[in-house]
C-alpha cells in the first residue's frame, strides 16, 4: 500500500462517517439558515415603494408636488415614491379629510402644509419631502432656469473623491473586503476545523481504536488523512455555503458585489491552505497528548491564543500594513497566514518578503508534520493522564 492510498482511506472514512453524523448535519443546517437569514431578512424589512395621498386646495400646489416627486426619485434609486393628488374644493373639506386620515396631508395653495398631528414618521417624511419640493420651486423661480437642473444639483455629490494611495477608491475598498473576508474565513476555519481535528484525534485515542490503526499505518499517514479529510469536508461546506450565498445574492440583489482582483484571491487561497495546514497539524499533535475530551482545553489554549494574536495583529495590519509589527509577524509562521494576505491586499508587501514568508511557512508545515508524527505516536499509546510533550517525544524517538 502506498502512502497516498493509506491517506486516501483515512480521508474517505473521515468524510463518510462525519458527513452522516448528526452533529455535522445540524451544523450544515444552521449555516444555511444563517445564510438565508442574512440574505432574506433585509428583503422582509426593506422599504417598500412609498405612496402618499396629498389633498390640494387652490392653485400652485401641483408644481411643488412635481418637484418633490422628482427629488424623491433620483436616477438609480430602487424605491419609488409616488404622490397621489386629491383635489378639494374648500379648506374645511380638506382638513376634515386629513383629520379622518383619508389623506396623509393637505397642501394649501402651494404655501402651507396641513398635517393631522405633530408625530408620525410618515407625516414628518412627507413634510420634509414637500418642503424640499417647495424649496426647489423657489430656487427655480429665483434663477429662472429649468427644474431638472435644480433637481440634479440637489441630488448629486458635487465634490469628486480622490485617494492618495494610487489605486482608485473603489478597488481599495474591494481589497479590504477580501482582506477582511479572508481573515475571518481563516480565523473561523482554524478554530472550527482545528477543534474538529483535535476531538477526532482524542476520540480515536479514547476509544482505543488507534492502536489497531497504527499497526497498519504510519502515524503521519493517519494524521495527514485526518487533516485532509476534515479539511476537505470543511472546504466543501464553505464553498457550498458561499455558492448558495452568491446565487441568493444574485437572485435577491440585496448586496452589491464588488469585482474582486484575481491576484488577491489567489494569494488568499494559498495562505488559507498554508495556515489551515499548520494549525491543523498543531491541533492534531495536541489531540494526541490527551486521553479525555475534558483535558483538551488545556493543551489547546496556547494554540488558540496564537490564532487570536494572529487575528488581532492582522486587524492592526489593515490600517498599518507596513508597520514594524506587521513586517515582523509576516516572517513568524503562525501569524504569517493572517498578516501576509492583508498586506498583499493593500499592496504593502514587497515580493521578496512574500516569497521568504511562504518558504518559511512551507518549511514549518513540513517540520511540524514530522514532529507531530512523533508526538502523535508517543502520545497516542499513553493512556490515562495527560502526556507531556517531552515525554511523548521520548516515548517515540524515531
Amino acid at each position: 500500500m502506498t502512502s497516498w492510498q493509506a491517506i486516501r482511506l483515512v480521508m474517505g472514512r473521515e468524510i463518510r462517517e462525519r458527513s452522516r453524523s448528526g452533529a455535522f448535519i445540524v451544523s450544515v443546517a444552521i449555516t444555511l439558515l444563517l445564510v438565508a437569514a442574512v440574505l432574506f431578512l433585509p428583503l422582509i424589512f426593506a422599504d417598500d415603494d412609498v405612496r402618499y395621498e396629498v389633498g390640494v386646495v387652490g392653485d400652485g400646489s401641483q408644481v411643488v408636488i412635481d418637484a418633490a416627486v422628482a427629488l424623491a426619485n433620483p436616477p438609480g434609486r430602487e424605491v419609488r415614491t409616488t404622490i397621489e393628488v386629491v383635489a378639494f374644493a374648500t379648506r374645511e373639506a380638506a382638513e376634515a379629510a386629513a383629520d379622518a386620515e383619508e389623506v396623509d396631508g393637505v397642501l394649501m395653495d402651494g404655501r402651507e402644509i396641513v398635517v393631522r398631528g405633530a408625530g408620525g414618521e410618515a407625516g414628518g417624511a412627507l413634510e420634509s419631502l414637500l418642503q424640499r419640493g417647495a424649496r426647489s420651486v423657489q430656487i427655480e423661480s429665483l434663477v429662472a432656469s429649468g427644474a431638472g437642473e435644480v433637481v440634479d444639483i440637489l441630488t448629486s455629490q458635487p465634490l469628486e473623491v480622490r485617494s492618495l494611495s494610487g489605486a482608485d477608491a473603489e478597488e481599495n475598498s474591494e481589497r479590504s473586503v477580501i482582506a477582511f473576508g479572508g481573515l475571518m474565513l481563516l480565523y473561523m476555519a482554524v478554530l472550527l476545523y482545528g477543534s474538529l481535528i483535535l476531538s477526532g484525534v482524542t476520540e480515536e485515542k479514547t476509544n482505543r481504536v488507534v492502536e489497531v490503526l497504527l499497526a497498519a499505518f504510519e502515524p503521519w499517514q493517519l494524521l495527514a488523512g485526518k487533516i485532509l479529510g476534515i479539511g476537505l469536508l470543511g472546504l466543501c461546506q464553505f464553498v457550498g455555503t458561499v455558492v448558495i450565498a452568491l446565487v441568493g445574492i444574485n437572485l435577491t440583489g440585496v448586496i452589491d458585489l464588488p469585482e474582486f482582483p484575481v491576484d488577491s484571491i489567489l494569494v488568499l487561497v494559498l495562505w488559507f491552505i498554508l495556515g489551515y495546514s499548520l494549525f491543523a497539524v498543531m491541533f492534531g499533535a495536541a489531540g494526541a497528548l490527551v486521553s479525555r475530551a475534558e483535558d483538551a482545553q488545556t493543551v489547546v489554549a496556547p494554540i488558540s491564543l496564537v490564532a487570536v494574536a494572529g487575528f488581532f495583529i492582522a486587524i492592526q495590519a489593515v490600517s498599518n500594513p507596513t508597520s514594524t509589527l506587521s513586517v515582523v509577524t509576516t516572517f513568524i509562521p503562525p501569524t504569517a497566514p493572517f498578516v501576509a494576505p492583508v498586506r498583499f491586499a493593500f499592496q504593502a508587501i514587497p515580493l521578496w518578503q512574500m516569497a521568504v514568508s511562504v518558504a518559511l511557512m512551507i518549511l514549518t508545515v513540513v517540520l511540524m508534520t514530522r514532529l507531530a508524527g512523533r508526538v502523535y505516536l508517543g502520545g497516542l499509546l499513553r493512556f490515562g493522564s495527560r502526556v507531556g510533550i517531552r515525554e511523548a517525544f521520548r516515548t517515540a524517538e524515531l
Partner: protein, 296 residues
Amino acid sequence: MLELSRLSKRYGEVQALDECSFRVERGRMLGFLGPNGAGKTTAMRSVFNLVSLDEGTVTWRGRPVGQAERMRFGYMPEQRGLYPKMRIGKQLVYLGRIHGMTTADATAAAERWLEELGLGDRTGDPLEKLSHGNQQRVQLAAALIHDPELLVLDEPFSGLDPFGVETMSEILRSRAAEGAAVVFSSHQLDMVEDLCQDVAIIHQGRVVMGGEVRQLKMDSPYWVIEVEMRGGDTERLSRLESVVSVDFDGYRHRIVARKGGDLSDLVSRLDLGGDVRHFTFSAPSLSELFKEAVAG
C-alpha cells in the same frame, strides 16, 4: 517465521526490554508468558513498529518488518477498541481495506466472519449497540478479516466467558492449522499448555525460558510425582534428599524432586508403604516451569 532478535528498550528508569529474543514459527502457536510489567506488550508492539527500539531487529521471513509486511499481520492490542458509532459491517470492511484488501474482498470477508461469529444479522448496527461479548467477537474479526499470516494477540482471553474462550481457542487453532504463525500473551498457563506448541517466558524484559513446551519439560531438572497413600508424612517426604518441595492438597502429595540417577532409586527412597491408590510420574507443568523461570 517471525523473529525478534535482541530487542532493547528503555523508558526513563525502566528497562522495558533487555535483549529480548524469540521466534514464532508458521503453523504453530506460541504462548508469550510473563508477570505483569515484564515487557510483553512492549515486545508485541515492537512487531508493529509502535515502539522505537533502542536496539534489536524484528524480521518476518528473514526480512525487516515494514509497512508492506504489516499488511499481512493481524493485531489485537491489549487495549481493545474500535469506532463505537461506526456500523460493524462498514468497520470491518474499513479494517480489511487498511490491510490492502479490495472493497469487494473485504465486504465478502466481513460477511463471512460476522456470519461465523453469529452476528450475521447485526451488520448494520453500530458497535456501541452490541453487548460486551459481541463487541469482543467483532474485535477478533477485526484482527482476522484480512486472513493474516501472522497473528499477534495481547491477552486475547481476558474478559471472555467460557464460551468465548472456546470460540477463541477454536479459531486460533484453525488459523495455526492453516499455516499462520500465532503468538498470544496470557496469564492462564493451563490454557497455554493446552493450546501452544511453543512458549517464551519473559521476565524483566528478557526471555528467561523459551522453546517447545515438550522439550522444555523434558529438559527440566525436576521430576514430579503425584501419589495418594495412606498415612503419607509430608514432613518426612520433604526431608528426603533431592526433594525440592512437597504439597499436600488433602488427598494427594505432589512431590517435586531434582533429577539425578535412576527413577526407581528415588521411588524406593520415598518408601511409600503398602497402601498406594494413585501414583503418577510426570514432567513439571507449565506453571511450575514458569515459576521456576521467573524466580530463578
